[in-house]
Symmetry: C2
Subunit: 123 residues, 2 copies
């Protein structure tokens, strides 16, 4: 890196390298931060409507995301159980749980990449 | 990674890790693919209106981007010269040229990160 931009980077502690990350299928966004949060909340609450509510998302929008997920290469991700006395409720599949773990670790590695690049700006 | 999701990743050659990357200032997006392309095209054409035209972008929109850039920590990035017989035209500053080089190299490292993660999905 040349001297002048290096000096500017060094002086500006407000500067950072940032980004976003997702899993693509045929170059289309398939799984990212939004679906991650939705799956985790369905897993915690056992309910799509509860999960949607927690995310300030409409039930319809949550189902749109789930339909895209369930139509992807890892399927099904969300399984809806038929209603009993307590109502049906929804669970996420074992594959969905693994996908959540994989994506969380992937995001950790990405965070490290961004932190390293941000540190290097000031070197 | 557990076995079942690994098998799914292995079977699906359509899957990849993808993302986008930018330089942030106070956690706000400051410089990314759009500004990069605009600066490069201004540098090549010597003209903001030509650069905007090549990007199918309005002259107004191009100026909005330039104003944000010129208001940032690296300034000025675009310098407009007063019109002579040939009209004024615009150039990018030395710092802007260095920023373009820095961002291009950063993006190369990010591309390598994504390629490595995509390869590792299938391992």
């Amino acid at each position: 890196m040349k001297q002048s931009i290096k000096k500017i980077f060094k002086k500006n502690k407000r500067l950072s390298v940032a980004g976003s990350l997702w899993i693509a299928c045929n170059d289309n966004r398939f799984f990212g931060p939004g679906p991650l949060e939705l799956l985790e909340r369905i897993n915690n609450t056992g309910s799509i409507s509860e999960a949607a509510k927690e995310m300030n998302m409409s039930y319809k929008k949550a189902w749109e995301i789930i339909n895209v997920l369930n139509d992807g290469p890892v399927k099904p991700l969300v399984v809806t159980k038929a209603g009993g006395t307590k109502g049906g409720g929804s669970v996420i599949s074992d594959e969905a749980k693994e996908l959540v773990v994989y994506y969380r670790l992937l995001r950790e590695r990405f965070k490290k990449f961004l932190e390293k690049e941000t540190r290097n700006m000031a070197l």
